[in-house]
Symmetry: C2
Subunit: 363 residues, 2 copies
DNA sequence: CGGTGTCATGACATCGGTGTCATTAGTTCA
DNA sequence: TGAACTAATGACACCGATGTCATGACACCG
């Protein structure tokens, strides 16, 4: 591979002059510049970032740690490809910056993280983003104090700068949109209570009801006892939960599910039980998982998780920290997402009274 | 960031001795070694790959060009996440090699490829893998002759080493498994004729029939006129195609679809028309797209596309070429995949005669 | 006891760029 | 016309590792 010295020799100038032509950081005579460019083309010269990095002490690299690549395909319990969307956002935002992204995949094993960070430090990355597959708390090994770090879709105790989805606002807006369509008996079959997202969304659910003066009915809030799985047992549990709320004296007119996947399974279950969607019952999901929301019939109303935006925001933050133009936020940055309306929610023509259960007799 | 000189000073030895401790390439007294390691720990020293790379002229980097990260989430017409699975395989195989993977995403724009290759060359990658999202021909800009290159899931005119799915064998095996279950009237609703995969799979389909002496019936082979899309028109076209083969004087007992996604849509269509699966009709897909095959009821029989294996094979090939231990193959390397059986194919109790159409009267 | 070998270590050059400073030529202005 | 300045270029050191060669201390052998 040709070096700057080769170019200098061919062009009949000093290496430093070639460097000046490459970087345009000092005036070079037009004639000289042309000679240099000719030599560069002739030799197919490409400057070495390694040498540059060494001299300038700036690698131009940013590290990304994720499980998105290895995990997404096989885990069937997930709701879309959250971390992959985030990585996508990061890529997009990073492109513009001129920095090179180094992606390391954990392969799902958290104990590989220290090793990956080590490799990044050997490459002298200027910053580091850790992407989690769902909103949760993490605990990462310490990194060199000179390396900036940002957490995406997760947070830690150490107060590392982080960017999170606004789960509270998301569920609030979703429920609010249902209320706007005339629904007042709104059931919520949530995900596991253990999840950060669940805690926040339940709060959003309750507050949205409270905001319009609907009394919260505990019977309508069913937290998943177990993760809804693929197998028959999972289907049974889901049906039990649905059956329970639909058998209430005042059944709901709409059920919000913890995620789109759960809603998708519910479609099949409800349909096999003869419940027409959305005429007999309205349904909403969560995640805005396009593959599901758009493919289902009727299309599914959902709250979009702003994954790409989280990635973009995290990147902007990191780049700002690297340049010193952004100061480190002390609180997590919350990113909100819109409600994506589908046809799974029926417009109730007139406000339904508390005692109404029209249409539920078909069950 | 501490350097090897800092470590040397603290340990009271020469930088070269520190280097020897780090690399273990020459004997160092136990006492000295301990002093050095202590200094390393104390200073939190991490060697710089940039400096190493410069001296050794080996970057330890391998470049990967793909559209997997940016594209997979949004394209709904796809059949799984082919390129992502391949990337996954590459990651796994690369891990063991100790090299660092540099992933660049095209963002779907082929015209960005030269730029990405340029960046890789600046980083002096030792090798380069290009991953396509489906089996096809590509034409890439030339790379420096010193940089090894491998194509995964694609091939070119220049005879660049490539690794491809064995589409011929896949369809052959799939059809063969149907024949083994007693089917003899086997329809094939293929994907677009333009696709490399289609050409090969059609050949596999025909040969599988021929191998057991079943005469090929052109009426049973329906190439998709257009890509099957999400909208109503797409559904209509798919239904028309299905309707056409089922209306034949001797209708098929099983339909093979071009991919799992098409089969999934067919499930909905057939069911809404009152066709019971697999009792009235058997169905098979292609791709082995778990999310679909396992989720559908009944589970879908499919031919697995060995994406991860392609990635692994491509990586092994590239690493071999870099080490000089593998010689460059002149023909594409074909990787086969198994048939993943589901419940969508009925076991026909006895060989069906050519005139039989039992069970089709329900249509 | 001197010659030869091995062990352990260090001095120094080198990889390919760029920052610093020096140098030369030409220009401007008092 | 000479001092002061700018434009254009080069010489040289340096970034942080490691390869090569040299050196000093022992051990071993005849």
């Amino acid at each position: 591979m040709a070096t700057i010295y080769d170019v200098a020799r061919v062009a009949g100038v000093s290496p430093k002059t070639v460097s000046r032509v490459l970087n345009g950081d000092a005036p070079v005579k037009k004639h000289t510049k042309e000679a240099v460019n000719k030599a560069i083309a002739e030799l197919g010269y490409v400057p070495s970032t390694a040498a540059r990095a060494m001299r300038s002490n700036k690698s131009g690299l940013v590290g990304l740690i994720t499980g998105a690549i290895s995990l997404s395909p096989n885990r069937s319990e997930n709701s879309g490809l959250p971390d992959l969307y985030i990585v996508q956002g990061i890529q997009r935002a990073m492109e513009a910056s001129g920095k090179t992204l180094l992606i390391a995949d954990t392969g799902g094993k958290m104990n590989r993280v220290p090793q990956l960070i080590r490799t990044f430090e050997e490459h002298r990355v200027e910053g580091l983003i850790y992407v989690a597959d769902h909103h949760r708390e993490v605990s990462l090994p310490p990194v060199s104090s000179t390396t900036k770090m940002v957490l995406a879709n997760c947070f830690d105790q150490k107060g590392t700068p982080s960017v999170l989805p606004n789960d509270y606002q998301g569920q609030f807006n979703l429920v609010n949109s249902l209320i706007a369509k005339g629904h007042r008996r709104i059931a919520y079959l949530a995900l596991s209570r253990q999840l950060e997202a669940t805690k926040l969304r339940v709060a959003g659910y309750k507050d949205a009801l409270a905001a319009v003066g609907i009394k919260f009915d505990p019977a309508l809030l069913v937290p998943a006892e177990v993760d809804v799985s693929e197998d028959d047992a999972g289907v049974q549990l889901l049906w039990d939960a649905i059956d329970r709320v639909l058998s209430l004296p005042e059944p709901p007119t709409v059920i919000c599910f913890g995620n789109d996947r759960m809603a998708m399974r519910a479609y099949g279950i409800l349909r096999s039980r003869g419940v027409a969607l959305p005429d007999d019952l309205s349904v909403a999901g969560y995640d805005g998982h396009r593959l599901i929301t758009d493919t289902l019939y009727p299309t599914l109303t959902s709250a979009e998780l702003p994954y790409a935006a989280i990635g973009i925001r995290a990147t902007e933050l990191l780049l700002g920290m690297i340049n010193g133009t952004a100061d480190v936020p002390t609180k997590p940055i919350l990113v909100g997402g819109p409600v994506t309306p589908g046809n799974s929610v029926k417009d109730l023509p007139s406000p339904i009274t508390h005692l109404s259960s029209i249409g539920r007799t078909t069950l």
